[in-house]
C-alpha cells in the first residue's frame, strides 16, 4: 500500500470542504461566473441529449461496457499492452504518481529536450507532472486554452473540462496582457475581452511552441484493448498539434480508461461530446495505433497509471466510479458546485465526481469532508452518461468516513442516542414532549430565531417553527383510537 502523499490528487494544505466553501461563497464574481457558465452548458447538454431518443439505451450500454471492463481489467490491460507493443508503441506501468513522474521525466531526458508541449490531461494533473518536470529542469507548456489560463495565472484548475471556469473574459484578457510575454509571444496590443480575440491571442502565443516542440505529453480519453488504439477528444486543435508534430509522444492514462473493442467507441463517442460540451460531436477526435511511418511521432510511450485505482476497484460499491469518462456533466448540474466552484474541493477532481473519486484514490480518511459535500439531490446521477450512481457512492463513503473515526466523536454519540430514542415509541413520545416544551419556550410568536451553539449554522439564515403542542401520535390517540375501538 502506498502512502497517500505519494499519490498527488489533492492540494496539500487545502482546508476542509465546509471551510473552503465558506470562503468561496464570499466571492460574488466567482458565483456570477459559475452561474453563467453552468447554466449555458446545462441548456446545451439537455438540447443535444434529447435529440437522441435512445439516450437511456446508450447510457445502459456505456455503464455495462465499463462494468465489464472493470471486472476484467487485468485481461484488458494485458491485451492493450500487447496490441500497443505490436503497433510500435512502448508500454510502461506505474504504481503511483511518483513512479509515473519518474518514468515520464526519464523519457523526456532521453530525448535530450528540456521543453514539452502538453494536451490537457486529468491524469497528469493528478500526479503533479508539470511541477515534477519543473524540478527536473523541464518546462511543460499547457496548450489547452483553459489550462493556459490556469498556467499563466499560476492558478489551480476548478473544473474538469473547463479548468478556468472560475475566470470571466475580462479576467482572462487582463491575465493574457500581463503574463503571455513572460512565457513567449506576448498578447497583442489593445487585446479586447471578446472570446474570439482571446482565442486568437492564444493561437499566436502557442504557434511557435507547436512548430518547434520535439516532445508532447498527453492523456487519453480511451484506449482500445483489441486494437491498441488510443483516443483523444478535444476542441481546439492543440491536441492534434501535440499528437502530430513532435517526434516523441508520451501518453499517461489511468488504467480504467481501457475499453474492450473498437466498436465500443460507438457508444462513448455519442455520449461524451453531448454530455461535456453539449455538442453533437466535438471539433476534433484523434485516434492513433502505435506509430505510423511518415505520419506523426516516431516514438510512442503509453504509461499505465494505477495511483489508487486498484484500491477503488477493490470496493464493490465504489468501483463504478472508475467508469467515469471525465465529461463533467455532473459538475455542471451540481447545485453545490455551482455555488462553491471547484477549488473548494481541494482536489484536481472537483464536483460530484471528485467527491466520490478523491476519497477513494487517497483514502477516505484523507478527504473525510468530501462525501458530505452534497445534498444527495441526484442531479449528477441523472446527468451521468455512464450512469454512475454518485449519491449511492456518496452515502457509502459517508459510512466509511464515519467508520474511520471509530465512533469517537460527539456526532457519533448523538447519533447513537438518537437511534435509541427513535427505536422506542415511548422514548420518542417523551422526547417530543420535551422538544415541544423546550422549543415553545425558545419561540417568539411561534417561530424560533437565531440560536447559539451547534445549531447556529442552521438558525443564522432560517426561522424554525415552534414545535406544536401535541404530536401527531398524541392527536391520534385522542381523536381516532377510540373511534377505531368502537368500529371493531
Amino acid at each position: 500500500m502506498n502512502a497517500p502523499s505519494s499519490r498527488g490528487v489533492v492540494w496539500l494544505g487545502s482546508p476542509a470542504f465546509p471551510d473552503a466553501a465558506r470562503e468561496a461563497l464570499k466571492d460574488t464574481r466567482l458565483r456570477a461566473n459559475l452561474k453563467r457558465a453552468t447554466s449555458t452548458i446545462r441548456d446545451k447538454r439537455l438540447a443535444v441529449a434529447s435529440e437522441l431518443d435512445d439516450w437511456e439505451a446508450l447510457r445502459d450500454a456505456a455503464a455495462a461496457i465499463k462494468k465489464c471492463t472493470a471486472r476484467h481489467l487485468d485481461h484488458y490491460l494485458v491485451e492493450l499492452e500487447a496490441s500497443v507493443t505490436a503497433a510500435g508503441g512502448t508500454v510502461h506501468w506505474a504504481c503511483d504518481a511518483a513512479e509515473a513522474n519518474r518514468i515520464v521525466t526519464e523519457l523526456v531526458r532521453a530525448t535530450g529536450e528540456s521543453e514539452v508541449v502538453k494536451i490537457k490531461s486529468m491524469a497528469t494533473q493528478e500526479i503533479g507532472l508539470n511541477e515534477h518536470l519543473a524540478e527536473a529542469g523541464i518546462t511543460a507548456y499547457e496548450t489547452d486554452l483553459a489550462e493556459l489560463i490556469v498556467q499563466l495565472g499560476d492558478d489551480r484548475p476548478s473544473h474538469i473540462l473547463v479548468p478556468a471556469i472560475h475566470r470571466n473574459r475580462t479576467e482572462v484578457r487582463d491575465l493574457f496582457a500581463a503574463e503571455m510575454g513572460h512565457w513567449g509571444q506576448p498578447a497583442p496590443e489593445g487585446l479586447t475581452d471578446e472570446p474570439a480575440d482571446l482565442a486568437e491571442a492564444a493561437r499566436r502565443h502557442l504557434r511557435e511552441k507547436f512548430l518547434t516542440a520535439k516532445v508532447a505529453v498527453s492523456g487519453a480519453n480511451f484506449a482500445v484493448a483489441d486494437t491498441g488504439t488510443v483516443v483523444v477528444v478535444e476542441s481546439e486543435g492543440n491536441g492534434r498539434m501535440c499528437l502530430t508534430l513532435p517526434d516523441t509522444l508520451i501518453t499517461v492514462m489511468g488504467i480504467e480508461k481501457v475499453v474492450p473493442t473498437w466498436s465500443d467507441l460507438e457508444v462513448f463517442l455519442q455520449l461524451l461530446p453531448r454530455s461535456s460540451t453539449g455538442e453533437r460531436m466535438n471539433p476534433y477526435t484523434s485516434t492513433w495505433t502505435g506509430t505510423t511511418e511518415g505520419d506523426g511521432p516516431s516514438a510512442f510511450h503509453l504509461v499505465l497509471l494505477d495511483n489508487g485505482r486498484t484500491d477503488t476497484l477493490a470496493d464493490t460499491v465504489g468501483r463504478q466510479v472508475l467508469g467515469c469518462i471525465r465529461c463533467s456533466a455532473c459538475l455542471n448540474v451540481c447545485p453545490v458546485f455551482e455555488r462553491t466552484g471547484g477549488h473548494a474541493y481541494g482536489s484536481v477532481y472537483p464536483g460530484p465526481i471528485g467527491a466520490v473519486l478523491t476519497p477513494q484514490l487517497i483514502g477516505v480518511e484523507n478527504a473525510a469532508t468530501l462525501p458530505f459535500a452534497s445534498t444527495l439531490c441526484g442531479a449528477c446521477y441523472d446527468a451521468c452518461p455512464v450512469k454512475i450512481n454518485i449519491p449511492e457512492v456518496l452515502a457509502h463513503l459517508r459510512a466509511e468516513a464515519v467508520e474511520a473515526k471509530n465512533g469517537h466523536t460527539a456526532e457519533a454519540l448523538a447519533m447513537r442516542a438518537a437511534g435509541k430514542v427513535l427505536d422506542s415509541p415511548r422514548l420518542l413520545a417523551a422526547a417530543q414532549k420535551a422538544a415541544s416544551l423546550g422549543g415553545r419556550a425558545l419561540a417568539r410568536r411561534g417561530t424560533i430565531g437565531r440560536l447559539p451553539g451547534p445549531m447556529h449554522g442552521w438558525s443564522d439564515t432560517r426561522d424554525t417553527p415552534a414545535p406544536p403542542a401535541e404530536s401527531f401520535r398524541t392527536w391520534w390517540r385522542k381523536n381516532r383510537e377510540n373511534k377505531e375501538g368502537e368500529q371493531s
Binding site: F17, P18, A21, R22, L25, R31, P335, V336, R339, T369, F372, A373, S374, T375, L376, C377, G378, A379, D382, A395, R398, A399, E400, A401, V402, E411, M415, R416, A418, G419, L422, D423, S424, P425, L428, A431, Q432, A435, S436, T447, M455, G457, W458, D460, T461, R462, D463, T464, P465, P468, S471, F472, R473, T474, W475, W476, R477, R480, E484, Q487
Partner: protein, 246 residues
C-alpha cells in the same frame, strides 16, 4: 384495503397537521386509515449521515410495524425513497435472512402520498378547494428519487379555485439535504437564497411540496426574510375544502 399511515418521526414531532390532512383526504375518499403506534422513524438521518448500523434497528422496526398492511402511505417523498431504496440494502448488509424477507415484503407496499392517490387509488380530484396563489417545489426525492413527475401537479390542478404558478428553476435543489444544512450551512444557505428568490418571484401566497423537511428549510428562509409566503405540505392543500382547512 388496509391502509397504514407512516407519519415519519419528523412530521409526527413538528408537523402533525400534515398527518391530519392525509387522514382527512383518505377518509373523505372513503378509506379507513390506521396508525400503528409502534412506528417511529425510517432511519434516513442515520443512513445519510453515515451511521448505517444505527439505522438497522429502525429498519427492522419499520418492517415489523407495517407487516400485514396492504398499503403504507407516507407524506414524505424522502422517507418513502429511504424505505424503498435503502431498507433492502441495509437488510442485506446487516440483517439476517428473516429481516431481508420482512423488508422485501413491506417495501413494495410503501407509497408516497401523491403516488398513492394517483397510482393506487386512481384519483386526481380529491374534492379540495383552495382559492389561493400556489407554487409547487418538486423536492429532489420527489423528482429524481421517486420520479413522481407530474402526479403532484395533476392533483393540485384539480383543486377548486387554486391559482397554480410555475416556480422558476423548480428542479434545482433547495439546499436542505438533511445534515448537509448543518455540516455545510453556508453552501446550504446560498442554495436556499436562490430558491427563496425564485419563490418570491412567483408572488405566490403558498409554497407547497411533498416533503416538510425541505419546506421547513425554505419556509424558514422566507420567514427570516420577512416574507409572508406560507410553506404548506401539499396534503394540507388537498385536505382543504370550501368549509376551510381541517
Amino acid at each position: 384495503m388496509r391502509i397504514a399511515l407512516f407519519i415519519t418521526c419528523f412530521n409526527d414531532t413538528m408537523f402533525p397537521g400534515t398527518g391530519r390532512a392525509v387522514v382527512s383526504v383518505l377518509e373523505r375518499l372513503g378509506h379507513t386509515v390506521e396508525f400503528p403506534q409502534e412506528q417511529t422513524c425510517c432511519g434516513q438521518m442515520h443512513f445519510n449521515t453515515g451511521y448505517r448500523p444505527d439505522a438497522v434497528p429502525l429498519v427492522a422496526r419499520f418492517a415489523r410495524t407495517f407487516a400485514g398492511y396492504d398499503a403504507v402511505v407516507t407524506p414524505s417523498a424522502s422517507c418513502a425513497g429511504m424505505a424503498r431504496e435503502n431498507h433492502p440494502l441495509l437488510a442485506a448488509d446487516y440483517g439476517h435472512a428473516q429481516l431481508q424477507q420482512q423488508v422485501a415484503d413491506v417495501v413494495p407496499r410503501v407509497h408516497e402520498f401523491t403516488e398513492f392517490l394517483t397510482d393506487v387509488l386512481g384519483v386526481t380530484d380529491v374534492g379540495a378547494s383552495f382559492p389561493h396563489r400556489v407554487s409547487y417545489h418538486p423536492t429532489c426525492h420527489s423528482l429524481r428519487g421517486l420520479r413522481l413527475g407530474d402526479r403532484p401537479l395533476e392533483l393540485l390542478r384539480a383543486v377548486k379555485g387554486i391559482d397554480l404558478v410555475d416556480l422558476p428553476d423548480a428542479d434545482s435543489c433547495c439546499g436542505f439535504g438533511g445534515t448537509f444544512a448543518v455540516k455545510n450551512a453556508d453552501t446550504s444557505a446560498a442554495m436556499l437564497a436562490d430558491k427563496a428568490d425564485g419563490v418570491l418571484s412567483t408572488r405566490a401566497e403558498v409554497l407547497c411540496a411533498a416533503d416538510n423537511s425541505c419546506l421547513m428549510h425554505i419556509g424558514g428562509g422566507l420567514s427570516r426574510r420577512g416574507s409572508s409566503v406560507r410553506a404548506m405540505h401539499l396534503a394540507e392543500i388537498l385536505a382543504a375544502t370550501e368549509g376551510g382547512t381541517p
